[in-house]
Point group: C2
Chain length 296, copies 2
């Protein structure tokens, strides 16, 4: 195993452990809501956003263990957005990661509330970083602002709004990039910047902002490609769904081959964003390569 | 005009001004989402939660002007919860404050996102209090934790979950109080405690926690009563809806007369929670009286 592969294995185990432990708590008032929240959080997934938090932490020499709460916050916001995205009024998906979607199991009302619960929980997690933390309260607040902007009406939610609107109109390549930049990029950027915000390293925050942008776009283009050429059994969700909705995707706009070239271009731009000195960046870069070379 | 009535008039104007100005911003990426968020925020309402923030601030000698961001945060969380509550999968309401509900105007998908947007915005607002603020970052984080707990899966969302479940079963009086304590009480408590958290006055936070609890329950009982005996035209929403769903309410469980007595009991307990020295509490108490003596 390379040191990067070893680090990744350790980081993955740590993230899973945190996720398993965190929502394992009684809620005597309303057991069902925690159950619904846990269902989607534990339904698997690549844990890419928490891993990005940890890899960016490694880049800035921030210990893994001190990033538990921000890592959870990122995964919860991602999961909330998936639960709401899957609702009948939105994408109307029955399967997610090979399992019935939240509303298929718990009903629409509870699925809406489970998403709401996870969004709240994300901000609670991050604000708990203010207690006995090695990070200053001012920097924790900076991270909270950054996360709230990334997930809010100018970030992730703008992306979802544009995505809805685009189902009924032809999108240009630039338009598609705007959607993906918000819907995927914003949260990737926040994940990458998290350790920089928490340590008040604004120079690094700037570099990681650009890195996260290109990482998000590369990831999303590969997602689009796998939706066309991927294997439904490996993907754990229906493939070909995008073209059914005649939704704009990279392969549909420029073809599979040109999409790959664009993804590789973003990988290169992401590397360049970290500057000439890449000694500390090996974990970030191996996460990037994995995300682009995946088959599902 | 009494000094209390004068203060209330000023506070109301201030809150409306803040609310009008805050979301009046371009969102070139996705105009529609801000429009949907604004629609419900500007649809009127009593602005009781922001007014509670200001009245509790007055109680602790915190200047009105310094409470703009927390006041907005409370109103946004309240509005998000109404938008999601009104959805077809939840209470399926067509009217709110005499106007079509959010999903009736913007469609279900955008209504879900508008609620999500406002919840994000609430946490963004409060975290912005960390910039050039008279409150310490540690205390702002304390307020964020308090708000996230009040609106999360153990607070407001627990109340909504219990409320959903109660449509299909008989609730006892104690059960009903548990629902209301979460669904209404938690956010009232957070509104009252906000200035105490922000100034790190934990003794006052404790008193205001109990005050907010009884205020919330008194308010909710009166709401139940008005739903039975109120005037639909004044209320701006359909009355009699609760009994249609054969939902548990105070009047249904104990009758209108006993419900009034219970509301008055909570008013008294709220007063007592503030302790013997009520010199600074006049604005809080007049808000309490108004909330109980309202006709809509």
């Amino acid at each position: 195993m390379t040191p990067e592969a070893e680090w990744m294995a350790v980081a993955r185990i740590l993230v899973e452990k945190w996720i398993q432990a965190d929502l394992d708590r009684p809620n005597p008032m309303a057991e069902r809501i925690i159950e619904a929240m846990r269902y989607s959080v534990l339904a698997g997934g690549k844990r890419l956003r928490p891993l990005l938090v940890l890899a960016a932490g490694d880049y800035l020499r921030v210990p893994l263990e001190s990033l538990r709460l921000p890592a959870l916050a990122l995964e919860y916001i991602h999961t909330y957005s998936l639960i709401h995205d899957d609702l009948p009024a939105m994408d109307n998906d029955d399967l997610r990661r090979g399992k019935p979607t939240n509303h298929k199991v718990f009903g629409e009302a509870l699925a809406i509330l489970a998403g709401d619960g996870l969004l709240n929980e994300a901000f609670l997690k991050l604000s708990e970083l203010g207690v006995d933390s090695e990070f200053s309260s001012g920097n924790v607040l900076r991270a909270l602002r950054g996360l709230a902007r990334a997930s809010g009406a100018e970030g992730l939610i703008a992306g979802q709004t544009l995505d809805l609107a685009s189902e009924h109109q032809e999108l240009s390549l630039a338009g598609l990039q705007t959607v993906h930049g918000r819907k995927t990029g914003a949260l990737f950027q926040a994940a990458c910047q998290m350790p920089a915000w928490l340590t008040g390293n604004m120079d690094a925050a700037d570099r990681l902002h650009r890195f996260g942008w290109h990482f998000g776009l590369a990831f999303q283009i590969v997602d689009d490609i796998l939706n066309v050429v991927g294997d439904a059994a490996i993907m754990g969700k229906s493939t070909g769904t995008d073209s059914n909705l005649s939704k704009a995707t990279y392969p549909r706009l420029v073809g599979v081959e040109a999409s790959w070239m664009m993804a590789r271009g973003h990988v290169q731009s992401a590397e360049e964003a970290l500057g000439p000195d890449l000694d500390n960046a090996q974990r970030l870069l191996s996460l990037l390569r994995q995300a682009v070379n995946r088959v599902a």
